[in-house]
């Protein structure tokens, strides 16, 4: 017995010393506000992000139905039952050589591989369009003396504000013509000019890539413009003095500096395009299984959950690998401190006479994609007979009586009065605004905190981990995300959030705020991180030395300096939330949000009201943007930093 005690006694001081050391290092660790932030967000994100991800991957390794089990047993000679864990879902989708009568390619090729290749191609083309379009515009706006800058800059972000599928709808309605068999009716282009574009312009790969690219080009513009605006012009001027040609400067100096923003854009556009469902659904009328997102949804729709989740996992893996590439890229990059507390001026390139030509071209493009769709929403919200301007009426806006005579709609507790007197529309719009504002507040603030912590611990793996975690929600398909939270609120502990209780709309609002805050955090954390990375650490240190509290440093020093970037971090989640549908659809009723009501009206033949709501959403966001711009000087087009 005594033998046992001795080592312990001996070890006593050592143990004490050890614990003291641990205690000291913990104390030192948590005395830094950024470490606390990192730990808190790590825990929150692990729950809110990792859990859904794991459940999704798990679903791709589970036998979901009896039919699925039978099929796996049949082709792989296994003996699995419903509910079993299996890897066979993967080969069942990826290497299935089934070639039945009438089939020209094997099942895997036609349902998985071809759509995958098309999706990848489409996402890449969308990236190119977004980066080129947004990048060139960013360059023209920040670096040249092109006229109409203010107008172009303001209007160019509209396509990003609109729901992407309304842009797809606009594309179809504009280009369709009676030479394209799959298109019902004729579009604006044919009606005005008589020009009939070939089918590939209206449906399939090209228009999908275009619409996704255009929808996200403002994003590229915002990101790249932010850097160009803040970049020290000396960097370029130095090269000019070294006799580098204009082209060489762009290629060797400007491009590498905006490269991180370009990579961020590519990452975001790629992830969104590759898993986008609504846009392809509109623009693939000739082949409804053209892209992987479509075949994924179809697998889920026809009850082939296993295959559906395998595809969802593949899409996720693609996005995550791009995220990893992005991380590797930014890690090896030198830290660009563009706001150093030292002044710098930017000189503009004189385009001379070309400026008018360029401006006009840019104006035409911008107006076509940003103003014309709005105009078309207006038209479609006043035409009693769609496509017939002679039936224009304002009743869908101002009538105090029911505007749609439809037994289906009237059998519901909803109003079809003119939008300004429509309780269903107005209350849903109110809820949308409440949710968007709350989500923006939560995301924006968290984004700044994450950005702060990550920039302070830039070289630490832990910070990189938290930063990546904060980005992951972007990569999880919205519908899966909603589904996971649906199962969470069915849990008794979260009963109070269940949308089917008597407090249903309030509960729906609460759960939407939670889900939205996680899903849209990436926007804010990106802009927060970028903004913080731009600030040289000394700006804060100068305040630390004066004995300024952390909270005061944040509110009095850091926030005001990068105000515009941070406010963008609030605006982006706000906008995304206002126009989100898929994410919330499982956890809301048909009338909770403006987008719910809009979708419901579209589906049930009240397209005038639906278009009116769409217009209201877009105008509301634009107005918010302008007001924020006037009041704070920040706006989303002014950049969310590098």
């Amino acid at each position: 017995m005594s033998e046992k005690v001795q080592p312990a006694a001996k070890g006593g001081p050592d143990v004490k010393k050890f614990f003291k050391k641990v205690f000291n290092s913990l104390k030192a660790f948590f005395s830094k506000s950024y470490n606390i932030i990192l730990v808190v967000f790590f825990v929150l994100l692990a729950i809110g992000v990792i859990a859904p991800l794991v459940s999704m991957v798990w679903d791709s390794l589970t036998v979901h139905t009896r039919v699925e089990a039978d099929y796996i047993n049949e082709i792989w000679e296994k003996n699995v039952k419903k509910g079993d864990f299996t890897f066979m879902q993967w080969p069942t989708l990826l290497f299935n050589t089934q070639l039945d009568v009438g089939m020209t390619q094997s099942y895997s090729v036609s349902v998985f591989w071809l759509p995958l290749v098309r999706s990848l191609g489409m996402a890449l083309v969308a990236c190119v369009i977004a980066v080129l379009g947004g990048g060139i515009l960013a360059f023209l706006i920040t670096r040249t003396n092109m006229p109409f800058k203010k107008f172009i800059s303001t209007v160019f972000v509209f396509p990003y504000i609109m729901p992407s599928w309304s842009l797809a709808m606009f594309w179809e309605n504009f280009f369709k013509n009676n030479h394209v068999a799959a298109a019902p009716g004729i579009g604006l282009l044919q009606a005005i000019t008589g020009i009939c574009v070939p089918e590939w312009v209206v449906y399939g790969f090209f228009p999908t890539a275009m619409v996704m690219g255009i929808h996200y080009a403002p994003f590229a513009y915002i990101l790249i413009g932010g850097i160009l605006r803040n970049m020290d012009a000396n960097l370029e001027e130095a090269a000019t003095i070294l006799k580098a040609s204009r082209f060489k400067i762009v290629r060797r100096i400007t491009l590498p500096i905006v490269a991180p923003a370009m990579v961020s854009t590519i990452l975001l556009v790629f992830a969104s395009s590759v898993s986008s469902y609504t846009v392809p659904a509109f623009l693939c009328k000739t082949n409804p299984s053209y892209f992987l997102s479509l075949t994924m949804r179809s697998a889920l729709s026809v009850g082939k959950f296993g295959e559906g989740y395998v595809m969802a996992t593949v899409l996720l893996v693609l996005s995550v690998s791009i995220l990893l590439v992005n991380n590797a890229f930014t890690r090896s990059r030198k830290r660009f401190t563009t706001v150093s507390g030292k002044s710098g001026q930017i000189s503009k390139i004189d385009l001379r006479k070309a400026k008018w030509v360029i401006a006009v071209i840019v104006l035409i493009v911008v107006v076509f994609f940003a103003i014309v769709p709005l105009f078309s929403f207006v038209i479609e919200s006043i035409e009693e007979t769609p496509g017939d301007i002679k039936t224009a009426t304002l009743k869908y806006w101002f009538s105090q009586e029911e505007t749609i005579d439809d037994v289906f709609l009237s059998s519901r507790d909803l109003s079809t009065k003119g939008i300004f007197f429509n309780s269903t529309v107005l209350s849903s719009l109110g809820r949308s605004i409440i949710i968007a504002v709350c989500v923006a507040m939560v995301c924006g603030t968290c984004g700044i905190l994450v950005g702060y912590a990550v920039s302070k611990k830039r070289h630490s793996r832990f910070a990189n981990l938290v930063s990546s975690l904060a980005f992951l929600p972007y990569l999880i398909p919205s519908l899966s995300f909603g589904a996971v939270f649906l199962s969470v609120i069915k849990n008794d502990a979260f009963k109070f959030l269940d949308v089917s209780t008597s407090m249903k709309e309030a509960s729906a609002v609460a759960i939407c705020i939670i889900v939205g805050s996680i899903k849209f955090l990436p926007f804010a954390s990106r802009s927060g991180t970028n903004a913080m990375l731009q600030l040289s650490g000394e700006i804060e240190e100068a305040a630390i030395i004066t004995g300024c509290r952390w909270s005061k440093r944040m509110t009095r020093i850091l926030f005001p300096i990068q105000k515009s970037s941070f406010i963008s971090g609030y605006l982006l989640p706000f906008i995304s939330c206002m126009r989100e549908y898929t994410l919330f659809v499982l956890i809301t009723s048909s009338f909770t949000l403006a987008t719910n009501v809009m979708e419901y009206f579209t589906r049930n033949g009240a397209s005038q009201l639906a278009n009116g709501i769409n217009l209201l959403i877009v105008l509301f966001v634009i107005a918010t943007n302008l007001i924020v711009n006037k009041v704070t000087g920040a706006s989303i087009d002014k950049g969310i930093g590098g």
Partner: protein, 463 residues
């Protein structure tokens, strides 16, 4: 000491044996919701009402009804009137799911309470979830309620159907009638890519333009195509073949006439419409007026056309439209959109697909008896009077309103409910259409589904 040990051992053995007995108590065949539903199926209406009342009074939760159609909310209101212990405060209806969303949402019922009653479309999903997430209730008095044996497994709630329709201009544009399903199969004239020779169309009456909502996302259309391959439907498809081609059907390539029809029909689809509602609108669209499409879509969407009137400014002299212009009344000078849709073709083979939404009791329901009571209520006249009857839609003969079943609306599962003059009855629909077959669909192999998916994804008709 030894004795003590012995006693101890014996005690231990007895204890563990008891424990084992308790633990391995022979399980009853059914438990939980499944058991309750079986019991409810044996109850009379009065017993069921008592059980429901008792259960609602004991519960502090709401009675939850989920589904895909607005009819649920209306019938829930009627249900509350009939059975006053269910009130607006203690019941809730969420009926705006799309089919895949409802199925995804139902998954949560595996472990916890999600809802009490679900009206589920697509019997293949029901087959998957049967006895697991969903339980089938059969009213003990189903025969008195006007249901047949075909209506109870699973218990039908509301019948729907999808039909082939065209616009009024169709015959004039194509110069053909739609009279045989094989017109939609076969092939148009094409140039063979190997021989560079032009292959003529397989039949003079071939129709090359069809609009279909993809079976890749619409389960009902998948069920339709699958049922076309069901053995019981082969005769009508073969007969149609015989009439169309003038020879009996035979093939070395295809295993059935239905399979051949499905394969060729998919290859012949030139537009995949996004929803049947859209397709209905396209039928009426002036711009699509001269295309000559055969649309396939939900008959219920006829309601969109019934109450809609269009001005025909500038087209008063259109040879087709001029006869449709309303001469007097509120809508004088306009045309009724319903008049532009032509649907009651006499088509050899079939006119479309008849299917139902089925009443199911959700696993872990907190109010299973009330859910059964509600399922029973759905097939009674009371439910119909509370929902689709009494609305302002006209029947085909123009009768507005009172207690009629109208054009394009849901079909009661019960035979005892009357129809408006001019409407096909439920049985007429069943006779003219392919009928969703639970027994066949529940055993359909995934490879059969995959074949159809692959055919759709390699459709290149319009390229």
């Amino acid at each position: 000491m030894k004795k003590f040990l012995l006693v101890l051992t014996v005690l231990a053995m007895v204890f563990s044996a008891t424990f084992a007995l308790v633990a391995c108590q022979p399980k009853e065949d059914l438990e939980g919701t499944a058991k309750v539903v079986v019991e409810a199926s044996k109850m009379s209406l009065e017993e069921l009402k008592d059980a429901s009342k008792k259960e609602m009074e004991a519960s502090n939760d709401t009675f939850k009804v989920v589904g895909l159609t607005s009819v649920l909310a209306k019938t829930l209101t009627a249900f509350q009137k009939e059975y006053p212990w269910v009130t607006e405060a203690n019941s809730n209806c969420k009926n705006d799911y799309k089919d895949y969303q409802l199925l995804q949402a139902l998954e949560t019922a595996e472990k916890s309470y999600f809802a009490d009653f679900a009206l589920v479309q697509d019997v293949r999903s029901i087959a998957n979830y049967d006895g697991d997430l969903l339980h089938n209730y059969v009213p003990s008095d189903y025969k008195e309620l006007g249901l047949t044996d075909n209506d109870i497994k699973p218990l039908k709630g509301i019948y729907f159907n999808k039909l082939f329709w065209t616009n009024t201009n169709f015959e004039k544009i194509t110069g053909k009638k739609l009279y045989n399903i094989w017109q939609l199969a076969g092939h148009d004239e094409y140039v063979d890519s190997d021989t560079k020779e032009t292959v003529p169309k397989d039949h003079a009456d071939h129709l090359s333009l069809s609009s279909f909502q993809t079976a890749a996302s619409e389960q009902i259309n998948m069920s339709f195509l699958l049922c076309c391959e069901a053995p019981e439907n082969q005769k009508r498809i073969q007969d149609a073949y015989q009439k169309y081609y003038g020879k009996p059907w035979s093939s070395t390539e295809y295993t059935s006439a239905g399979q051949q029809w499905v394969t060729e029909y998919i290859a012949n689809i030139s537009r995949f419409h996004s929803s049947d509602g859209t397709a209905m609108k396209e039928t009426q669209l002036k711009d699509d007026w001269n295309a000559g499409y055969v649309y396939y879509g939900a008959f219920a969407k006829m309601k969109d056309a019934v109450g809609k009137y269009y001005t025909v400014a500038g087209q008063e002299e259109d040879p087709i439209l001029k006869d449709l212009i309303i001469k007097e009344g509120d809508n004088a000078g306009k045309i009724n959109a319903m008049d532009t849709v032509k649907w009651d073709w006499e088509i050899e083979g079939f006119n479309g697909f008849m299917y139902a939404m089925c009443s199911q009791i959700v696993n872990n329901a907190k109010h299973p008896y009330t859910a059964c009571l509600y399922a029973r209520f759905l097939v009674t006249l009371g439910a119909y009077e509370g929902s689709v009857y009494n609305s302002s839609l006209p029947a085909q003969d123009g009768t507005i309103g009172t207690k009629v079943n109208q054009y394009g609306y849901y079909f009661p599962a019960s035979n005892t409910i009357t129809y408006a003059k001019g409407d096909w009855t439920r049985d007429q629909h069943i006779a003219k259409e392919i009928v969703e077959d639970y027994e066949y669909l529940k055993d359909v192999k995934l490879s059969q589904v995959n074949r159809i998916l692959a055919l759709i994804s390699s459709n290149n008709k319009s390229k």
